[in-house]
Each structure stands twice: as structure tokens, then as C-alpha cells.
């Protein structure tokens, strides 16, 4: 024979963390669901689409879904940006040497004028 307090404990726990039962359409099968309770995951606002967050400035949600085509596009875009980055880096180096050469030339002219 079960203790009354034990039964009350189980009832209290059942209320705190309930399960829901639903009859399936096929035969006698029974589906079990976890019911509403405190441990339910908190749904945060935000978009799950990466394009929306990249191009429209929307806050991304906890999970972001990415399509194969979008991934390919982003890959291409990253590749293009890296090439652009390298090209600009080369330009910067050339410009640095040019500035240095010009500075030396200006410095040389000033010295020649002073002499």
C-alpha cells in the first residue's frame, strides 16, 4: 500500500512537470508530449535568415539557418573580398615606396638648394 504523502508528492510533481497525451490517427497508438512548464525553452525574437541579418541589419536569432545557395554566394563573396584585399594591399605597398621615394627626392632638392 502506497503512502498518502508519496502519492501527494507524485501528484505535485505531475502538476509541476506535466505530460500530455494525444491519440494518434492510426490505430491505438498514443503520442506523448511534454506539457507547458517552467523548463520550456525561451523563444527569443530575431531572424533566422542570414541574408536578412547581413543585408537588412536585423538582429540574428539564437539559431541562424543558412541555405546551400546562400552559403555558396557568401563563399564567392568572401573569395572576392579576399582578392580585393590582396590587390589593395599591393597598391598600398607601391604607394608606400612612392611616398618614400618622393620624400627622399624632396629632401635631396632642399639640401641642394641650401648648399
Amino acid at each position: 500500500m502506497e503512502s498518502e504523502i508519496f502519492k501527494k508528492f507524485l501528484e505535485a510533481e505531475s502538476r509541476r512537470a506535466p505530460i500530455e497525451r494525444k491519440q494518434s490517427g492510426v490505430g491505438e497508438r498514443l503520442w506523448l508530449f511534454w506539457g507547458e512548464s517552467k523548463d520550456r525553452a525561451e523563444i527569443k525574437r530575431g531572424t533566422s535568415d542570414i541574408i536578412d541579418s547581413l543585408y537588412f541589419g536585423e538582429e540574428p536569432s539564437r539559431t541562424v539557418v543558412i541555405d546551400r545557395r546562400v552559403a555558396r554566394m557568401l563563399q564567392e563573396r568572401l573569395k572576392g573580398l579576399e582578392e580585393e584585399n590582396l590587390r589593395l594591399y599591393k597598391h598600398i605597398r607601391i604607394m608606400k615606396f612612392t611616398i618614400l621615394a618622393l620624400l627622399l627626392a624632396v629632401f635631396g632638392i632642399i639640401i641642394m638648394l641650401l648648399m
Partner: protein
């Protein structure tokens, strides 16, 4: 509320004379609020265990207390009773003069670890049956407060039996003082003329204490709190291989066990049922005194209820190790709720359902305590013809629980 404020005053008076160890003091006070309270204070030498014991005894029993010391030669006559020689000589009657320790309301035992085994056996009997025996005569012992202290690392100790320690409701550990606390202690000693105990007033009369104890006994705890106490203790006891009656103990017993990584695998000697009683008393006392007792409070109480009742397979620092186990236990309790274990058990108690039973089996392979309950129910379903022997989880996993799925009398 007058009685509650008196208990608060007692705590305040003790705190004004004893630096630090606030949680230990709080727990010591709570433990006095049930009949025949027994308390053990453990600390290294010089930390103040005797002082704290005397402060408590004085605060509740005034001058009506006796302290026996394990450090001195204590004979049975001083603790229990001695023969009245004139009566024997003149009348030929064996009259026993019961010792002051038996008659006093407040009982203190200093340096319990040094107490000789014979005296310990007498005190053990007193705590167990509420009576003492000497020269074939018995004396009933009225309600009391018993506070003992010991230094567990004292090399000159007797090894007392575990059932004797089990009779102590709680065991609090005191710590040494920090740098700034040492200054506070010096200030206190100056203030009280280097005698902290002398100035301690009697805050509660013993009649007040008995009234409080009666009120605390009438407090009713919520089913979820009682459930939590029972679950906590059961998790610190259970073993699918029945370590309680096994000759081989963990970790050897746990080799190849499905639950090897569980809490049970860390405990060599489990706690007794007295842990449940002690936790219930403390929870009731907390509810009476503070108006509430939460599950978190129960976990902090368990830290003082378990250390003298169990043996771990590896002990580095008993309090730290038990704290780790309690934290794991707290997570496990929440995990059970998330898995809806008790909801499933509740539904299964109302009637057998295959879908729920499958879920219960999944939970049982992760949880010994739940498995025990499911095995018990499986036995009923087998006898009712709802389940066949061999389909049950106990047969499939090779689990045998004493008294459930072994040979039983069918009467």
C-alpha cells in the same frame, strides 16, 4: 512569536560571543528544537568547540548541565550511577545513586574521541533507548540536550563504532579564524574579561524549550519537501548491487556496473534512515523559526547531517567532497523533473500503459532510485499478467533487488 524571538535572541547572544562559523551556529540552534537533541561539534584543537558547546548549554539549561570529559578518567559511576554503600551495608539493599549526568537536562561530552569504550557504550544506550542501567536497575532519562565535541585528527583517540556516531543528529565542523577575525576575537575576549562563557545568560528556560519542541513537532511539511528529503537520502543509500549487505564494497563492487559514474559509486558506506529523521527535524525547525524551508535549505542542512554517517571511496576533505556530491544531486533532481520521471511513475501507478512503460524504462537505466520503483511495479504487473517475466527491465539488465524480484513466499 515570543518563543521564536527567544530562539533568535539565543542565536544573537551566542554570535556576540563566538566569531565566524555563522552557518554552523544557525544549524546548532535549529537542531536543538526537537526532543532529545544530540549534536556533535568537530574541529581541530583550539578552535572553540568546547566554548561553543558551553555557550549553547548555558543558553538553554542555565546551570542545569553537566560536562563529562573524555580527556580525564571517566568511570561508569560518574556518567551513569554508583552503588549507595551505606544502604548495602545497613539494609542489604542495592540502591543506585544516579549520576548528575543522567539527571541533568543539559549534557555535554568534551573530547568524545577520547572517551573509553565502556562509557561510550553507556552513553550509546542512553541515546538509543532514553534510559540507563546500573547494578540491574534502570532509570528513565527525561528530555535533554546533548552536545559533544571532538577533534577527529587527535592521535590519542578511541575508534567508536559507526552506529554510535549515527545517533548524533548533526555533526558541524568549525573552521579556524581568518586574519581579521582574530582581531575580532581579541576584542571580544577583552570585552568579556577573557571568559566568554561566564557572561553567557540563560536565554531559554528548559520549559520554553520543551514548549518549542512540542510546537515544532506539530509543524507539517509539504509533500514536495518530504519527497525531496526521502529522495536525497535514498540517492545517498541506493545501490543496484546492494552494497549494504554485500561483503565486497565500492569501488571493487562497482566494476562493470551500469551506474558506475553515479553518486552511488562514490559512497562506500551509505547513510542510515536516521539521516531522514534528522533532516525532517531540521526542516520542521526551520519552518517553525523562519516560516519557510526551501529545497536549497535542505541541501545546506544535508551537509551537516551526512558527514558522520557515510564513508566515501576517496576522502580528501569530507565537507568539500559531500558538497560536490550534493551539487551533483541537485542537478540530478532537476534532471528527473525535466524527464518527467515522477509524472510517468504517477501515471503508471494509476494503471499499466505500454507507451509510458517504455519511457519509464529509458529513465530507469539512468537512475537507480527510479529503477527500484519501476522494478517494484513490474513485479506487480507480472503477477497480474500484464507483463511477462523476461520482458521486465530487472531481468533484462540483470538487476536483483532484495525483497522484490527474488524468490518470495507466495502467501
Amino acid at each position: 512569536m515570543a518563543l521564536q524571538s527567544k530562539v533568535m535572541d539565543l542565536e544573537k547572544e551566542i554570535r556576540s560571543r563566538f566569531i565566524a562559523n555563522e552557518e554552523a551556529i544557525k544549524m546548532l540552534i535549529l537542531n536543538q528544537l526537537h526532543p532529545r537533541s544530540t549534536t556533535l561539534i568537530r574541529a581541530p584543537r583550539g578552535v572553540g568547540k568546547s566554548t561553543l558547546m558551553l555557550l549553547l548549554l548555558k543558553g538553554m539549561a542555565g546551570e542545569d548541565f553537566v560536562v563529562v570529559s573524555g580527556a580525564s578518567e571517566v568511570k561508569r559511576g560518574e556518567v551513569v550511577g554508583r552503588l549507595h554503600i551505606p544502604s548495602l551495608e545497613k539494609e542489604g539493599v542495592e540502591r543506585v545513586l544516579w549520576a548528575a549526568f543522567v539527571k541533568s537536562r543539559g549534557k555535554g561530552i568534551d573530547e568524545l574521541n577520547r572517551l573509553n569504550p565502556y562509557t561510550t557504550a553507556n552513553i550509546h544506550h542512553l541515546m538509543q533507548f532514553g534510559e540507563v542501567w546500573a547494578y540491574g536497575q534502570r532509570s528513565k532519562v527525561e528530555d535533554y540536550i546533548l552536545i559533544a565535541n571532538e577533534n577527529p585528527s587527535d592521535p590519542t583517540s578511541f575508534t567508536h563504532p559507526p552506529p554510535f556516531y549515527d545517533r548524533f543528529d548533526i555533526c558541524v565542523y568549525l573552521r579556524t579564524l581568518t586574519f581579521s577575525e582574530k582581531f575580532q576575537l581579541q576584542d571580544l575576549l577583552e570585552k568579556h574579561d577573557w571568559n566568554l562563557v561566564e557572561s553567557m545568560p540563560q536565554v531559554l528556560s528548559f520549559e520554553d524549550l520543551q514548549e518549542i519542541r512540542a510546537e515544532v513537532a506539530d509543524i507539517e511539511l509539504e509533500p514536495d519537501l518530504i519527497g525531496c528529503i526521502n529522495l536525497l537520502v535514498r540517492d545517498f543509500q541506493s545501490c543496484i548491487r546492494e552494497k549494504e549487505i554485500s561483503e565486497v564494497k565500492p569501488p571493487v563492487l562497482c566494476e562493470g556496473c551500469h551506474f558506475i559514474r553515479d553518486i552511488c559509486g562514490m559512497i562506500k558506506e551509505p547513510v542510515s534512515e536516521r539521516a531522514t529523521v534528522a533532516l525532517t527535524h531540521l526542516a520542521k525547525a526551520a519552518k517553525w523559526l523562519y516560516g519557510k524551508c526551501s529545497i536549497e535549505d535542505l541541501f545546506s542542512m544535508a551537509l551537516w547531517v551526512f558527514p558522520h554517517r557515510l564513508n566515501l571511496i576517496r576522502t580528501r576533505n569530507i565537507l568539500g567532497d559531500i558538497q560536490d556530491l550534493l551539487e551533483r544531486e541537485r542537478v540530478k533532481m532537476e534532471d528527473r523533473r525535466l524527464r518527467r520521471q515522477w509524472t510517468i511513475l504517477n501515471e503508471l501507478m494509476k494503471g499499466f500503459n505500454l507507451s509510458l512503460y517504455r519511457l519509464a524504462r529509458e529513465a530507469a537505466v539512468e537512475d537507480v532510485v527510479f529503477a527500484e520503483e519501476l522494478i517494484r511495479m513490474e513485479e506487480r504487473w507480472i503477477s497480474e499478467g500484464l507483463l511477462k517475466r523476461g520482458e521486465d527491465i530487472a531481468s533484462q539488465m540483470g538487476w536483483r533487488l532484495y525483497g522484490y524480484n527474488q524468490w518470495r513466499l507466495k502467501m
